[in-house]
């Protein structure tokens, strides 16, 4: 039976990383190649031994597709392509291609330079890996090879995030990566057409949650900033240059305007150039509606937000500063943090995940004393706030996506089966489809029922209709007789005669013959006549003819009587019948009779 096989790599209930293998129509595809951020050793890499025990992956994979730039989806890519070995194409959207290497390099620096690890990819490896990338545009079908094609869809979530449709012949799979179904101020909601894939693969990390509204998260952000500024404190917001910084800036600007606030807001210069780069990427990526909102305001001509100079960090009084890098692991944001950490009136707002080993990660874990260079300790007295703004689909979102795409089967990865039975029941009952939830390392086979479309000739159709019987019904198949012609890329069903005509062949007629001997003193003609009379009396329902040329014809069976001159009483009855009637009961009956 044709099937699609899916194996999420990883072990047990591991949720930290995405790396899924799909086998469809003889092709092998790797979906995402994430790093597990919770481990410090080789467990953070996906276990590629599932694909092959030794050696390179190139011949085993037709392509690799990366959904977006988050490290738990692309963090192991350079390791896979350069250290394990893969030279085939790696597909991702343009923004992902632009942002990935920056994130990977940052991550590499933290892991190798700060933590001194050795089994890790190098800067050169990141560059070499990115050379293998083939960028994707939204809604554009890309032929990976003659049989395999892929298409990217908008996923929301972060800049450049895509859901991907993979198609081989009439079988297809859609992988969602991370997505969100509620529109976001600057990213919009995921969208896909009713492509009816055989299988829809989705993450289930947030499947059993009901998400707090974006507005409330924004409200909390403004509230914290406002409270700190009101009491004369300083707010540090470490950001990743190519992420949500712009969104948060617009939010603050609007708020400052409305509340007529005077405290200064600064944006570090390192961010401005990168931000313009981000802006350009972003504008070509988003849809018309969102683009219009952003074109109305030039990204960095804010009334209340000014460029930062490092000397400002020592100014007295309240202020808000956006600075890079986002995890407080180096650079300007760390410098400012060191200056402000000792004052409890101040606040640091971390807008995202921080990798282990960074100051960001430590303070988010409640650490109050940090060891700095030269054995100096830093007391963390300022308020630490963790605010997550990333948009994910919850239970309702998954149902909406299924309604949109209409898959024939559903597969959820990274969920604990016993904690997802209700969702599975819900999906199965509402959509009458099967829902699979494999554990990591487990392979699921989904049987597909690919339909093969065939053009049928009008004549053949008419002939079939003329035979009567029930009308064609998808649920009650009818056997029919015809010839299938596979030419170029088309499949046609025509009558045998037409097929022969097209092929320039003539039809062969096969006839079987058999000789029966019997003794009869009469003449040949008389013998034949007796046979004729006899047959007429026993085979009443059949058409029997006695033709003057000396043959008796029963339907398609021809009977002749001959004898030799030497033995006139030894009659040889020649029976001949066509191939078509060879198996009919009538023929058998007649044979027996004779």
């Amino acid at each position: 039976m044709p099937d699609i096989k899916v194996t999420p790599l990883g072990a047990g209930q591991d949720v930290g990383r995405s790396c899924i293998l799909v086998s469809i129509g003889g092709k092998n595809i790797m979906l995402d190649c994430g790093m597990h951020m919770g481990y410090n050793d080789d467990r953070r890499f996906p276990d590629f031994s599932y694909i092959t025990q030794n050696g390179r992956l190139t011949e085993f994979l037709d392509c690799v597709i990366i959904s977006h730039f988050h490290l738990d989806h692309c963090g192991a890519l350079p390791y896979m392509s350069e250290m394990v070995g893969y030279d085939g194409p790696i597909y991702m959207t343009h923004p992902t291609k632009a942002i990935c290497p920056i994130l990977l390099e940052d991550f590499r620096k933290i892991t190798v330079d700060k933590k001194g690890e050795t089994n890790f990819f190098t800067s050169q490896m990141i560059k070499d890996c990115m050379k293998k990338v083939v960028p994707l545009n939204l809604h554009q079908t890309v032929q990976v090879d003659e049989e395999l094609e892929i298409k990217a869809y908008y996923a929301g979530h972060v800049l450049g995030a895509a859901m991907v449709q993979i198609k081989v012949g009439s079988e297809s799979v859609v992988y969602t990566g991370d997505y969100n179904m509620t529109p976001d101020r600057h990213l919009g909601a995921a969208w896909i057409d009713k492509c009816r894939p055989d299988l829809l693969i989705s993450e289930s990390t947030y499947a059993t949650t009901i998400r707090d509204s974006k507005r409330c998260r924004e409200r909390d952000f403004l509230k914290k900033v406002h409270e700190t500024v009101e009491r004369g404190g300083k707010v540090l917001i470490p950001v990743f240059a190519l992420g949500r910084a712009q969104e948060l800036c617009i939010l603050l600007e609007t708020f400052w305007e409305r509340m007529n606030l005077k405290a200064p807001i600064y944006f570090s210069t390192g961010l401005t150039e990168k931000a313009n780069h981000y802006y350009k990427l972003f504008i070509t990526w988003t849809n018309q509606k969102i683009r219009k909102t952003f074109v109305q305001r030039n990204m960095f001509e804010f009334k209340h937000i000014k460029a930062f100079d490092r000397s400002y960090a020592d100014n007295p009084g309240p202020m808000v500063v956006f600075a890079t890098p986002g995890m407080l692991h180096a650079g300007q944001s760390l410098l400012i943090f060191k200056k402000w950490a000792g004052n409890e009136k101040n606040m640091v707002i971390m807008p995202g995940y921080c990798v282990q080993g960074t100051v960001g990660h430590k303070i988010l874990n409640g650490q109050k004393k940090l060891e700095m260079e030269g054995r100096a300790t830093l007391d963390v007295k300022l308020q630490v706030e963790y605010m997550s703004f990333s948009a994910h689909a919850d239970a309702k979102g998954i149902m909406q996506l299924i309604r949109m795409a209409e898959p024939r089967n559903m597969l959820l990865v990274h969920g604990e089966a016993k904690k997802m039975e209700f969702l599975k029941d819900k999906i199965e009952q509402e959509f009458s489809i099967s829902c699979y939830m494999p554990a990591n390392g487990e392979t699921t086979s989904i049987v597909t029922n690919p339909s093969v479309p065939v053009d049928i000739s009008l004549n053949l159709l008419k002939r079939e209709m003329a035979l009567g019987g029930p009308l064609p019904d998808a649920k009650r198949p009818r056997t029919m007789h015809g010839t299938l012609i596979m030419k170029d890329n088309s499949l046609r069903l025509v009558s045998p005669e037409q097929a022969l005509k097209e092929l320039g062949l003539s039809e062969h007629q096969l006839r079987f013959t058999c000789r029966v001997q019997l003794h009869d003193p009469h003449s040949d003609n008389d013998t034949l006549g007796r046979i004729y009379t006899h047959l007429k009396s026993v085979l009443k329902t059949y058409s029997i003819q006695h033709v003057p040329d000396g043959t008796v014809i029963v339907e398609s069976i021809v009977i002749k009587v001959t004898s030799s001159a030497e033995e006139p009483n030894l009659k040889v009855i020649l029976l001949s019948w066509s191939y078509q009637t060879a198996d009919s009961t009538a023929t058998k009956k007649k044979k027996i009779q004779l």
Binding site: T208, I210, D212, S213, T254, G366, E385, S388, K396
Partner: protein
């Protein structure tokens, strides 16, 4: 918070000062019930459409993080258990000390008994039914018994009120009152004493040790009004004396009575409410469990007297903007230990968790 000023935006900006915490969620289907099943868990259930979901939700952990609230990014509800009911659910109660929940619906003549489930499965399973004498469109009113053996007090009209043991289906007590008045609410005060409030505002008090029931009709009862009631009991459950009953009519008449003297309310007031006969279903009055002498009302818009606080969040939601009529709050529930935290749900499926700022005491 767009650049264009919207009433909704104004409200959100205002909320920075008026609310301590504000969380806004959107359920897939609206609910008429919020029932606590644990310190941090509630059950909600759908009432629209023939197949309804019952969900047990874990409240956002951020609410419980205390001093470490800043470090906790968990702001979402988690669906811990879920199940399907074949009918829209009008009422849902939890039997304290168990994982058992009883529901009544608008179409069947039975009460459904469910096991909300433990750690090994997330499916809420039906474990039995209790047969009722009749079907009521508004659903049979139900209340948990307060004895050790799980039981449920139920009835849609006064004469049909009875106490049934859940495990066996045995009828433990029947109200011997020949009244066809419909029940608006009922509740046990302690293990034996219970109160029933009829739709016309009449109170009935019964004791499972005593076959007779006393009734206390209103002094001047106007027809066409619907009454809701809320019971506040003293933390020490032994004597019913510390119990206050609040009754609220659909025209805004509020009565407070002490259980020792149900005949004459000790306090009366008139709230200025929108009189809309069609919206009586969601009239709800509750006592704050921690705050002293504090009552909350939902389901009706009240303009005076000036309340301590008015939550307009449901009207101001994004969903409300696009629909024709503003959503109506179907029910609300006080948090069991946090003094000023309330959960409220509305007809558009919104679920809010909020903690208001008391301008006098909190500043």
């Amino acid at each position: 918070m767009d650049i264009s000023s919207d009433e909704s935006d104004d409200w959100f900006i205002e909320s920075l000062n008026t609310y301590k915490d504000l969380h806004v969620f959107q359920l897939e289907h609206p609910t008429k019930v919020i029932e606590w099943t644990g310190d941090k868990n509630i059950c909600v259930a759908g009432y629209t459409g023939s197949r309804s979901e019952i969900l047990e939700l874990l409240l956002p952990l951020k609410l419980y993080a205390g001093e470490n609230q800043g470090l906790c990014a968990e702001r979402d509800f988690k669906v811990q258990h879920g199940g399907f009911s074949e009918e829209p659910i009008e009422s849902l109660i939890h039997i304290s000390g168990t994982r058992c929940v009883v529901t009544s619906g608008s179409s069947s003549s039975t009460l459904q008994i469910w096991d909300i489930g433990g750690d090994d499965s997330d499916v809420i399973k039906r474990t039995g039914v209790i047969n009722l004498k009749s079907t009521s469109v508004k659903g049979c009113k139900i209340a948990p018994g307060l004895t050790d053996e799980p039981a449920v007090l139920h009835g849609s009209c006064i004469s049909e009120v009875q106490l049934t043991e859940i495990a066996t289906g045995r009828v433990l007590y029947t109200v011997a009152k020949e009244s066809s008045d419909s029940v608006s609410g009922l509740q046990f005060v302690n293990a034996c004493v219970f109160l029933i409030c009829a739709s016309d505002g009449t109170l009935f008090m019964g004791d499972t040790r005593d076959p007779s029931t006393c009734h206390y009709p209103l002094e001047d009862s106007k027809s066409g009004l619907h009454w809701a009631f809320g019971l506040r009991s003293d933390s020490s459950q032994s004597e019913p004396s510390g119990c206050t009953v609040a009754r609220l009519s659909s025209s805004g008449h509020m009565l407070l009575s002490d259980l020792r003297n149900l005949q004459s309310p000790f306090c009366q007031t008139q709230l200025n409410v929108q009189h809309d006969a069609s919206k009586n279903d969601f009239l709800n009055v509750s006592w704050a469990p921690v705050l002293d002498r504090c009552l909350s009302v939902s389901g009706k818009k009240c303009s005076s007297p000036q309340p301590v606080f008015s939550h307009r969040g449901h009207e101001m939601s994004d969903e409300a903007k696009y629909s024709g009529s503003p959503p109506v709050v179907t029910t609300h529930s006080w948090h069991q230990s946090r003094p000023k935290t309330i959960l409220s749900v509305a007809t558009d499926g919104s679920l809010h968790v909020w903690d208001w700022v008391d301008k006098i005491t909190d500043r």
